[in-house]
C-alpha cells in the first residue's frame, strides 16, 4: 500500500470528506478545462483550416492566368493581396513543376519558404504557424500550387489567455468548493464526529449512562440507535459484572472468614494434640512403669515363690513394657518433629556428625567401628532437627553394621549442582524392592531380634528433611551396605 493511501486512511473523517470533495471537484474541473481546451484548439484548427483553404483557393484562382502565362509579376501582385490579412506570414506560388514561381513575405519576418512545393494536403500546425498547400486548378486542370503560412501565435496566446482564465476560475471554484465541502462535511460527518467524540469520552470516563442524540432518520440515525442500544447492553453487562464482583467479594470474605475459623480450629487442634502428646508422655508411661517396676519387685522379692517359667513370663512382661515405652518415646519425637517449624541457621554438619559419633562410640565402647566424617560440611538448617536426623541416620548405620568385623560409617557430601549429603555404611543393607516402605512409620525391614528398633526413626528423618524442603532417598543391597542421600536446599 502506498504511503499516500495509508496517509489518507489515517486522516480524520472531517478531512477525508473535505479532501474527497475537493479531489473530485479538482478532477472534474481539470477534465472540463482540458476538454474545453482541446475543443477550443480543434475549433481553431478547423476554423484556420477553412480560412486558409479559402484564402489559398482564392489566391490560386486569381493566379491561374499568371501561372498559365508565366507572369510572375502578376502572380506576385496577386500574392500581395495577402498583406491585408495580418495573420498570413507568407505565401508562395509554385508552377506545375513544383518550382517556386512567386512569393510574398510579410515585411517584418523571415519566412521559411521552400524552393519546391510542399506536399498538398490539409493544413499542418506547429512552431506557432499553420501551413497549407493546395493545387491551383483552372477549369479542372492544375496550373500550379499555392502555399500559405499563417501566424498562430496570437491564437496560442488566446489559448494561454483561456488557460489563465480557466486557472482563475479553477481557483475560484475550488475555493467555493472548499466552503461547500466544509459545510457538507459538517452536515454529513458532523454527527459521525460527535458520535466518535462521545465514544471517546465514554471510553475515558467509563460513564455508560450517556446517550447519543439522534438528529436524522438516515443511516446515521440507525447508527446512533445501534450505538445507544449497545450502550444499554454494556450498561446492563457492567451492572451484571458489578453484581458478580460483589458476589465474588462476599465469597472472598466468606472464604477469608472460613480460613480464619479453620486456622483457629487448626490451632486449637494443634494445642489439643500438644496436650494429648503431653498426657501421652505422662499418663501412658505411668502404667508401663508400674508394670515393669512391680514385675521387677516380684522378681527381686518373690523369686523364691516363682519357678523358672514364672520368672521367664515376668521377664517377657517387662520387655514388652519397656518396648512400649520406647514406642511411646519415638512417637512423641515424631509428633514433635511434625509440629515444629524449622528455625534455620548455619549448621556445622561435620561437628554434629563427630559429636554423634563420639556418643555412639561411648554407648558401645567394645565395638570396633570406623566413623569417617568429611570435614567442612555445612548446611542452612534447624540445628536441633538436623541433630535428630543425623542421630537417627548414624544410629541406624551403627546398628546395622553391628555384625561387621570392620564396620565403616561415612558422613559426606557430593556436589551435583546442589549439595547432596550422604550417610553410608557397609552394614546389612536391605532389598531395594522394599525401598518404598522405608520411610513409613512403624515399617521395619528387619526383625526386632536381628536389629532392635521401633520403625519410627527414618519416618522422623524424612519429616525433618521434607520440613526443610529437601529430599531423602536410599541406595542399598542386601549385605552390601546402605547409603542414605539427602538434600537441604
Amino acid at each position: 500500500m502506498s504511503p499516500l493511501v495509508q496517509g489518507f486512511r489515517n486522516l480524520p473523517l472531517r478531512w477525508k470528506t473535505i479532501v474527497s470533495m475537493l479531489g473530485v471537484t479538482t478532477i472534474s474541473l481539470m477534465l472540463v478545462g482540458a476538454g474545453q481546451l482541446v475543443r477550443e484548439r480543434q475549433g481553431f484548427e478547423r476554423q484556420m483550416e477553412q480560412r486558409l483553404t479559402l484564402l489559398a483557393d482564392v489566391i490560386g484562382l486569381n493566379s491561374t492566368a499568371a501561372l498559365a502565362f508565366n507572369d510572375a509579376a502578376a502572380a506576385t501582385e496577386v500574392l500581395g493581396a495577402l498583406a491585408s490579412d495580418e495573420h498570413i506570414m507568407a505565401g508562395a506560388l509554385y508552377d506545375t513543376r513544383d518550382l517556386l514561381f512567386a512569393r510574398y513575405v510579410r515585411s517584418d519576418i523571415e519566412a521559411p519558404l521552400l524552393d519546391t512545393a510542399p506536399n498538398v494536403g490539409r493544413p499542418t500546425f506547429g512552431g506557432g504557424m499553420a501551413a497549407i498547400t493546395r493545387t491551383v486548378k483552372y477549369r479542372g486542370q492544375p496550373v500550379g500550387k499555392v502555399h500559405l503560412l499563417a501566424d498562430t501565435t496570437e491564437w496560442s496566446n488566446t489559448l494561454w489567455d483561456y488557460a489563465a482564465v480557466a486557472a482563475v476560475l479553477f481557483v475560484v471554484v475550488l475555493t467555493i468548493g472548499l466552503f461547500v465541502s466544509i459545510w457538507l462535511q459538517r452536515l454529513i460527518t458532523g454527527p459521525i464526529i460527535d458520535l466518535a467524540q462521545l465514544a471517546r469520552r465514554i471510553g475515558q470516563e467509563r460513564d455508560f449512562s450517556r446517550r447519543a442524540v439522534k438528529r436524522s432518520d438516515d443511516e446515521m440515525g440507525v447508527l446512533v440507535d445501534g450505538f445507544n442500544d449497545m450502550l444499554d447492553e454494556i450498561g446492563k453487562g457492567r451492572a451484571e459484572i458489578e453484581h458478580g464482583r460483589d458476589e465474588l467479594r462476599k465469597l472472598n470474605e466468606q472464604l477469608e472468614r472460613r480460613v480464619v475459623e479453620r486456622t483457629a480450629q487448626l490451632e486449637a487442634a494443634n494445642k489439643e494434640l500438644e496436650a494429648f502428646s503431653y498426657s501421652v508422655s505422662h499418663d501412658l508411661r505411668a502404667p508401663l512403669r508400674s508394670i515393669d517396676g512391680f514385675s521387677r519387685v516380684l522378681l527381686d522379692e518373690h523369686s523364691a515363690t516363682l519357678n523358672a517359667d514364672g520368672r521367664d513370663s515376668l521377664e517377657r512382661v517387662r520387655r514388652a513394657a519397656q518396648r512400649m515405652g520406647m514406642l511411646i518415646d519415638d512417637l512423641l519425637k515424631l509428633a514433635r518433629v511434625t509440629r515444629v517449624e524449622p528455625n534455620r541457621e548455619e549448621v556445622d554438619l561435620s561437628m554434629l556428625g563427630r559429636e554423634i559419633a563420639v556418643a555412639l562410640q561411648n554407648q558401645d565402647p567394645d565395638r570396633r567401628a570406623q566413623i569417617v566424617v568429611a570435614p567442612g560440611l555445612r548446611a542452612h538448617a534447624d540445628a536441633r532437627l538436623l541433630r535428630i536426623a543425623l542421630e537417627n541416620l548414624l544410629g541406624n548405620a551403627w546398628k546395622f553394621t553391628g555384625q561387621r568385623k570392620e564396620a565403616r560409617i561415612e558422613l559426606g557430601m557430593t556436589t551435583n549442582s546442589a549439595p547432596v549429603y550422604f550417610v553410608r555404611d557397609n552394614g546389612a543393607g536391605f532389598d531395594m524392592a522394599y525401598a518404598n516402605k522405608l520411610f513409613a512409620p512403624f515399617q521395619r525391614l528387619h526383625s526386632v531380634e536381628e536389629f532392635p528398633g521401633t520403625g519410627i526413626g527414618l519416618a522422623t528423618v524424612q519429616r525433618i528433611i521434607s520440613k526443610h524442603g529437601g529430599r531423602i532417598w536410599a541406595e542399598s543391597a542386601v549385605d552390601k551396605g546402605t547409603a542414605f542421600f539427602f538434600t537441604l536446599p
Binding site: 486569381n62 491561374t64 492566368a65 499568371a66 498559365a68 502565362f69 508565366n70 507572369d71 502578376a74 508552377d95 506545375t96 513543376r97 483552372y138 477549369r139 486542370q141 492544375p142 496550373v143
Partner: protein
C-alpha cells in the same frame, strides 16, 4: 481521365520549360519563342469563352495558324489537346481569308502575314497577331515583346464584338494601353 491529366501536365511542363528557356535566351532561338507563343495560344483558348452557339455548332476547336512554319514542331503538341471540352484541330492557313472557310475559333497571324486582315471582328473568331498595329487593324489580341518577355495586349471592345468573353485575369495580365 488520369491519363489525360498526365498528358496535360506533360504538355504544360514542356511549354513552361520552353518559356523558361525563352526567358534565359529568347533572342537566340526563334523556335523557342514560338514554342512559348504556341503555349500562349493554348492558354488564350482556355481563358476566353466562346459564344454558346458557336461552340454548339462545331465539333472541334479549330486552331488556325497563318505562318505556321515559324512554330516548327511546337504546334504538334497542341493537336489533339482538349480545350473547353473540345478537341483542338490544327489548321495551317496560307492567309487570313481562309478562316471562315475553316470555321476557325482562333486565328493566329504571324508577323508580316497580316496584310490580308479581315478588317473587323468576326463573331466567334479570336484573332491573335504579333505585329505592331495589329489591334488597330481589327485584331483582338496582339503578342508583344517587352523586356525580353512575351506579353500581350487585348482590345476588349473588339473581343466583345466577336462575342468573346475574356477572363478578367487574362485582362489583368494584358498590357494596359
Amino acid at each position: 481521365m488520369a491519363f489525360l491529366k498526365k498528358r496535360i501536365k506533360a504538355i504544360a511542363g514542356a511549354l513552361l520549360a520552353a518559356v523558361a528557356w525563352a526567358l534565359a535566351a529568347h533572342a537566340e532561338a526563334p523556335v523557342l519563342e514560338y514554342q512559348v507563343k504556341a503555349s500562349y495560344l493554348y492558354n488564350f483558348a482556355r481563358f476566353i469563352t466562346w459564344p454558346e452557339d458557336v461552340v454548339a455548332r462545331q465539333g472541334n476547336f479549330n486552331l488556325c495558324i497563318v505562318g505556321a512554319e515559324r512554330f516548327g514542331s511546337a504546334l504538334d503538341a497542341l493537336a489533339g489537346e482538349r480545350v473547353n471540352g473540345q478537341t483542338i484541330a490544327l489548321h495551317r492557313l496560307e492567309q487570313a481569308g481562309q478562316a471562315r472557310a475553316n470555321r476557325c475559333h482562333l486565328l493566329f497571324i504571324a508577323s508580316g502575314r497580316d496584310g490580308t486582315a479581315t478588317g473587323g471582328p468576326e463573331r466567334g473568331l479570336l484573332t491573335i497577331g504579333e505585329t505592331p498595329g495589329f489591334l488597330e487593324r481589327g485584331g483582338i489580341i496582339n503578342l508583344v515583346e517587352v523586356n525580353g518577355r512575351i506579353r500581350f495586349e487585348i482590345r476588349q471592345p473588339a473581343a466583345r464584338q466577336a462575342g468573346l468573353v475574356v477572363s478578367s485575369q487574362l485582362l489583368g495580365l494584358a498590357i494596359q494601353r
